[in-house]
């Protein structure tokens, strides 16, 4: 009796989960199926078998004529420096807040914590004019500086929690071995930070790669647009050519999906952690 009940309960649970999974995947499947077929084929609806596969043509058209090769390059150019900014600044500051004492420590930490709550809309207008005065409007630098520096508070917070979890005995031992304080940081602490760095890199790269509002405000030339922005303008230019837009979508999400497949646990934990401290 009890067995039967758990079996029926199990069937209900799995039916529900599978339906939810189908619902979650439908938009993605629609996109993939659209990218595979020819434009003339599309009117049959996305869930019919394509009469003709024009995958290669769709992707080369998006890649070359749609200039997704340029957008991809721009996304990389804008993402990497923003990640480097966060990693370097946040590691130093996080270590200091976790393991060092200095005047104004709690005040400065509180200021950074408060900074995590500031909405970008509250700083975008002055930031636009600041970059304008620095002649950075319509350059890669405007995008990676804004995205990188505004990611510092969260990065610092995360690195601080990480360093706090490392035992102080490590530093003591290093000092007894004759390391200077800086040497202890570089030779003892830094080699241990790789796992924390992977989380922070994933979080910041995703934030940077997917960012839309920052480049929307600071970039005006098509040559400099990153993928999300390029995709938006591309889709408004080719409103009727859905197969090409779908190919562009797949190019845009491809790098993150690959990373997600290989590092999903790390990805999920770093993103959820990022949200709950923010």
């Amino acid at each position: 009796m009890r067995q039967a009940r758990t079996l029926s309960v199990r069937i209900v649970i799995y039916t529900f989960l599978i339906l939810a999974a189908i619902y979650t995947l439908i938009p993605a499947v629609t996109m993939v199926l659209t990218a595979l077929r020819s434009p003339q084929d599309l009117q049959m609806g996305p869930f019919t078998l394509p009469r003709e596969f024009t995958v290669i043509k769709n992707f080369t058209q998006a890649w070359v004529n749609g200039r997704f090769n340029i957008y991809l390059k721009n996304s990389i150019i804008q993402t990497i420096p923003s990640v480097l900014i966060v990693i370097s600044f946040a590691t130093l500051a996080g270590f200091s807040f976790a393991k060092m004492r200095f005047p104004g420590r709690s005040v400065l930490f509180f200021v950074l914590l408060g900074g995590m709550m500031i909405p970008f809309q509250a700083v975008m207008i002055p930031l636009y004019f600041l970059f304008n005065r620095l002649h950075l409007i319509d350059t890669h630098a405007a995008v990676f500086l804004a995205i990188g520096v505004l990611g510092i508070p969260f990065g610092t917070f995360m690195m601080r929690s990480f360093f706090m979890s490392l035992p102080n005995q490590l530093l003591e031992a290093a000092r007894l071995d004759g390391c200077s304080d800086f040497g202890a940081f570089v030779r003892v602490m830094l080699p241990l930070t790789y796992p924390a760095w992977v989380s922070l890199i994933l979080f910041q790269s995703m934030w940077s790669w997917n960012n839309f509002l920052v480049p929307l405000i600071f970039i005006f030339t098509d040559e400099l647009r990153p993928l999300p922005l390029g995709l938006m303008f591309y889709s408004t230019r080719y409103t009727t050519n859905y197969t090409l837009v779908a190919a562009g979508v797949l190019i845009t999400i491809f790098p993150l999906v690959i990373l997600y497949i290989f590092l999903q646990r790390k990805f999920i934990s770093s993103i959820t952690m990022g949200a709950l401290t923010g």
């Binding site: 199990r10 999974a21 629609t30 200095f102 900074g115 007894l176 304080d181």
Partner: protein, 301 residues
């Protein structure tokens, strides 16, 4: 010397105060320039009338007065509120249900988790594009399904409809969010006490009673955190609305962020837009204070 430093080590500190300061200086300095000064500057701009070029005209609190009179600000605020309630209804609660089902299931937990979380990876541009297609009045899947089950009269132009545009956008946004909520709830649920469920079963409680009286109280703290976080996120939202409706039709889906963007970068009312952005900051900070309070209370118990 050795003893002194060993003592220092025990209290958890290294380095001289100067080194400590030098380590935080780059982070604080950069953030002060691009994050803190702009807030102050925003407030200064909000006290002026300024088209973006030329001299600024000091107008005192005139922009704030205009903001209080402007019915669109009220509408935007209302839409942000509706949006946050919609996300709680369409993503936070489904996320909670999914997490309970997934914790109860034996196999395939990782696979389901991977699938449900996946939309969170996508840039909002992609989310907006895909869902605009699904909602397309002519070839969109939503209307095709409605027609297939004989509900032609409900097959409308969703994103162009004054009543249904906002719910449609919320559905698209929720799609990227329930898997994320689910992961957070799963972590909390795995820390709950399994004996309480057995006890409840022995007492003859049914599934809904167990959910309300055993599960929810145990994860109450996390649930509140997620809801408050959702509120903050819902007041900052820009991308999905801008991309799917541009605030239309006829301002019906205008929210604070799209309104600020339009007033600043489309109409060049920078002073006025800065004033609205200060209001948005105050709202977000007020909600954040709640979160800090809750965290303190959670730490006490």
């Amino acid at each position: 010397m050795t003893r002194a430093s060993a003592l220092k080590g025990r209290s958890g500190t290294v380095g001289s105060p100067l080194m400590g300061l030098l380590f935080v200086l780059p982070a604080i300095g950069a953030f002060a320039l691009f994050g803190l000064w702009p807030i102050v500057h925003s407030f200064i701009i909000s006290l002026h009338e300024w088209p973006g070029i030329g001299p600024m005209t000091f107008v005192g609190l005139k922009n704030y007065a205009r903001m209080m009179r402007e019915s669109l600000v009220g509408l935007a605020f209302l839409n942000n509120t509706i949006y946050s309630l919609g996300i709680i209804l369409m993503a936070v609660i489904p996320g909670l249900i999914l997490s309970i089902l997934l914790v109860a299931s034996m196999r395939g937990r990782l696979l389901f988790q991977t699938i449900f979380f996946f939309p969170r990876l996508l840039t909002q541009v992609v989310v907006a594009l895909v869902w605009s297609w699904l909602f397309n009045p002519v070839f969109g899947l939503v209307n095709k399904l409605l027609i297939a089950i004989g509900l032609e009269r409900f097959a409308i132009g969703w994103l162009g409809d004054p009543t249904w545009a906002l719910p449609a956008v919320i559905l698209a946004a929720a799609w990227t969010y329930y898997g994320f909520c689910m992961v957070i709830f799963m972590a909390a649920l795995q820390n709950t006490d399994p004996f309480l469920y057995d006890a409840a079963l022995i007492d003859g409680a049914n599934g809904i009673q167990i959910f309300l009286h055993v599960t929810v109280p145990q994860i109450r703290h996390v649930l509140t955190m997620v809801i408050v976080f959702t509120l903050i996120d819902s007041f900052k939202v820009f991308d999905i609305i801008y991309l799917m409706t541009r605030g239309g039709p006829g301002d019906k889906t205008q929210i604070m962020a799209t309104y600020i963007y339009r007033e600043a970068f489309r109409h060049n009312y920078f002073g006025y837009a800065a004033a609205v952005s200060i209001l948005l900051t105050v709202v977000v900070l007020a909600i954040s204070v709640i979160i800090v309070r809750l965290r303190e209370r959670g730490a006490e118990t």
